[in-house]
């Protein structure tokens, strides 16, 4: 039994304790702007069955996933290339650092101005935000590749595809996973900002509407629903993939 499974009751207890603190605080604050857990739950149920919470979540999720895959594919290609070719790395290093430090909000505004208030602008902006992180991760991973294994491949006349598949990619998996993890958690937050600024659908847009109506229960309900979705992806997709790719280390 691993540590995470063994400590499940501590985790549940911790969550219950957090809700308890929330309950007690809301009781003492006693304000419409600080709803009780039950009110949030009622808002959640209402928005699921009477509102558009489910469709909004899937709209946001699909935008986040499209941006995520584009950023991962582009970032991996560029990162691996920079890791392999030092002169390219020297040339583009300043660009990557610049990209890393541009505020997400600035990118959002620029993309909406240049490309219009549409999904293309949203996805482009999110990709621009995420890209430098993937590039840096994969570039460092490529630099850390152990060439002694590639020499084995050369001695035994492995094809280029075999070297890539059996020797290079397994060494890059931990870096892909690190990018996936940080990517998912970063991208969905940025997508919300972009939706809040310039889209008329999705969780970000609904948060903006709820903000204008001071509906704090709906804001928390939408947040909880979306966090739950992201956690589902983490536990059902990312964590099993991680276990699969590093099973040889166990």
């Amino acid at each position: 039994m691993n540590k995470n499974t063994r400590d499940w009751h501590i985790r549940v207890l911790s969550l219950v304790f957090l809700i308890l603190i929330w309950l007690v605080s809301s009781y003492f604050v006693n304000s419409r702007l600080f709803p009780q857990p039950m009110q949030v739950f009622q808002s959640l149920v209402f928005n699921i069955f009477e509102g558009t919470l489910i469709s909004d979540c899937f709209i946001t999720l699909s935008r986040a996933l499209i941006a995520f895959f584009i950023a991962m594919i582009l970032g991996s290609i560029i990162g691996i290339s920079l890791g392999r070719f030092t002169k390219w790395d020297s040339f583009f290093d300043a660009w990557v650092i610049l990209g890393l430090n541009i505020p997400a909000l600035v990118v959002a505004i620029m993309c909406y101005i240049w490309l219009g208030m549409n999904d293309l602008a949203l996805i482009t902006g999110v990709v621009i935000n995420k890209l430098p992180l993937v590039i840096i991760n994969l570039r460092e991973g490529t630099k850390a590749i152990d060439n002694s294994y590639i020499q084995v491949g050369r001695v035994y006349q492995l094809t280029k595809f075999q070297v890539l598949q059996k020797i290079i990619l397994p060494q890059l998996y931990p870096y892909f996973l690190a990018s996936t993890r940080s990517g998912l958690s970063l991208i969905w937050k940025i997508v919300l900002v972009f939706e809040l600024l310039g889209r008329s659908s999705g969780v970000g847009f609904m948060l903006s509407v709820s903000f204008q109506m001071f509906d704090i229960s709906a804001i928390i309900a939408y947040s909880i629903a979306f966090i739950f979705l992201v956690l589902l992806i983490e536990y059902l997709v990312v964590a099993p993939l991680e276990r699969l790719s590093i099973r040889w280390r166990v």
């Binding site: 050369r154 001695v155 035994y156 099973r247």
Partner: protein, 250 residues
């Protein structure tokens, strides 16, 4: 019949990657011939370029002048190479480590499985290398060296850094297999007794730029063991005649 003919070989190394103009000579006009099915040990002081020589023969190091003629076509998985460390891919199982290096012919003859059986490793075929002892990893590495029934085997101090009894057993296993397979073998070592145990001929090198300072024919009967009296007598004979030969001084 000559298997390998090294003619007027010269090789320089740069002191650092940044300044490739400052170089030092490893070989300067170096010549050596090795006959078919001959076992040659190359002995020399540390840093004289023994490993580099093997890398040049194997085609892993290509920046040199001069010629290395090899009657074996090394482009056809005809080479076995044991490195200083086993270099098993940690993300592949023992069997996969053999399969990835095996030719189609070897796979169809089930050579990987047969070698695992020969080295009593069948029970570990689905185990990852990090679960094996140092000695077992070397055995897998030996199996990989012989997997394609090579014509030429290069050994780069492969039995160092493991305890003596295990190393001795591995050496005996190795020589037995090599003699059965009728290969040409080049062993690089700084251990004179090991060189005597393996070789038909020992080539002693000077410090860099490496030159052949002495060649010694070994006519002792086989099989030889490291602790054999006649191996020790041969060792004493060489050392009493040339006490500084291991430092590359004649």
């Amino acid at each position: 019949m000559i298997e390998i003919d090294i003619i007027n070989l010269s090789k320089n190394y740069a002191y650092s990657k940044k300044d490739e103009n400052k170089t030092f000579e490893v070989y300067n006009d170096f010549n050596l011939s090795i006959n078919k099915h001959e076992f040659v040990s190359i002995v020399g002081p540390s840093g004289c370029g023994k490993s580099t020589l093997l890398q040049m023969i194997a085609g892993l190091e290509k920046s040199y002048t001069g010629k290395i003629n090899c009657s074996t076509n090394l482009d056809n998985k005809n080479l076995g190479y044991m490195f200083q460390t086993p270099r098993l891919m940690p993300w592949l199982t023992v069997l996969d480590n053999l399969l990835i290096c095996a030719s189609e012919e070897s796979i169809s003859k089930k050579s990987p499985q047969k070698f695992l059986e020969k080295f009593k490793l069948t029970d570990f075929s689905n185990v990852y290398p990090n679960r094996l002892s140092g000695g077992m990893r070397r055995k897998v590495s030996i199996a990989r060296t012989f997997i394609n029934n090579p014509d030429l085997i290069l050994l780069d101090e492969p039995f160092t850094s493991i305890d003596q009894p295990v190393a001795n057993a591995l050496r005996e296993d190795f020589i037995l297999n090599a003699k059965e397979s009728k290969v040409t073998l080049i062993l690089v070592t700084h251990d004179l007794k090991e060189a005597i145990m393996f070789a038909d001929r020992i080539v002693f090198l000077s410090p860099r730029p490496a030159k052949i300072i002495y060649e010694h024919q070994i006519t002792l009967p086989r099989p030889r063991k490291l602790e054999d009296t006649h191996v020790f007598d041969e060792y004493k004979k060489i050392m009493s005649k040339f006490p500084n030969i291991l430092e590359g001084k004649f």
